[in-house]
Amino acid sequence: MPDIGLGGAVGFWALATLSVGAALGVVLLSNVFRAALALVLCFVGIAGLYVTLNADFLAAVQILIYAGAIAVLLIFAVMLTRDTQRGSLWNRYRVAALLIAGLFLGTVLAIVLGTDWGTARLLSDAPTTGGIANALFDKDAGFVLPFEVASVLLLAAVLGAIALLREG
């Protein structure tokens, strides 16, 4: 297995603990606003995990879009609805949901830990932004059409949100 150094290992375990703890906070905290803040913490932890995976561009995207834009939108929604005062309640499927999530987790963990992934010997430490751009806009195997479709999707989503929220 390639060596990413003691710092990488410590960073991984610290960030993994932070992310899982914050994710548990999102589900278990009874105050909706605190759950939203825990979600921001989880997003930041995942951005750190991207750094340990040498995905510098994605780490920046994660902070900008998730911890920035999406978190602000979610906190706006929390503050605009009065259900927040009742707290984050459970519905009647709590036990079944725990069972399903536990079954899923057990299955995936059994598969992941039971497979020999044959990890590559050499890990690249090069910056990824240029590589992503080249792969995204490659003439033959690029993602130019999905890229344009994504921009149309964003425009449609913005227009749809405005249309939904206009009075009348």
Binding site: A36, L58, L74, A77, L89, A101, L105, L123, G160, A161
Partner: protein
């Protein structure tokens, strides 16, 4: 030392936490937060696979970027729907939003 299986296990744990929350919460905004958690968990796996199996291949990260884009669009529309429902019915409790079941 953390390897691919560590990242995949972490991804699975985060996804399961999100799945549990999305299925068992009553506040629609919290359900949406848990869906975001699940999308993030998938992104970790998408970035970890090429990092350890095919270094120098960026398709996984590009997929993750598209997931982030679609998630941003999804959050905007979903929150607009939640606020619109709240205006009409004064609640965003997913157990009380059952108009189509009647």
């Amino acid at each position: 030392m953390p390897g691919l299986s560590h990242y995949l296990a972490l991804s699975a744990i985060l996804f399961s936490i999100g799945l549990f929350g999305a299925l068992s919460k009553r506040n629609a905004v919290v359900v949406l937060m848990c869906v975001e958690l699940m999308l993030n968990a998938v992104n970790i796996a998408l970035v970890a696979f090429p990092r350890y199996l095919r270094p120098g291949l960026y398709t996984g990260q590009i997929f993750a970027i598209f997931v982030v884009t679609v998630a941003a669009a999804e959050v905007a529309v979903a929150l607009a729907i939640i606020i619109a429902i709240y205006r009409r019915r004064e609640t965003i409790d997913v157990e009380q939003i059952d108009l189509m079941k009647r």
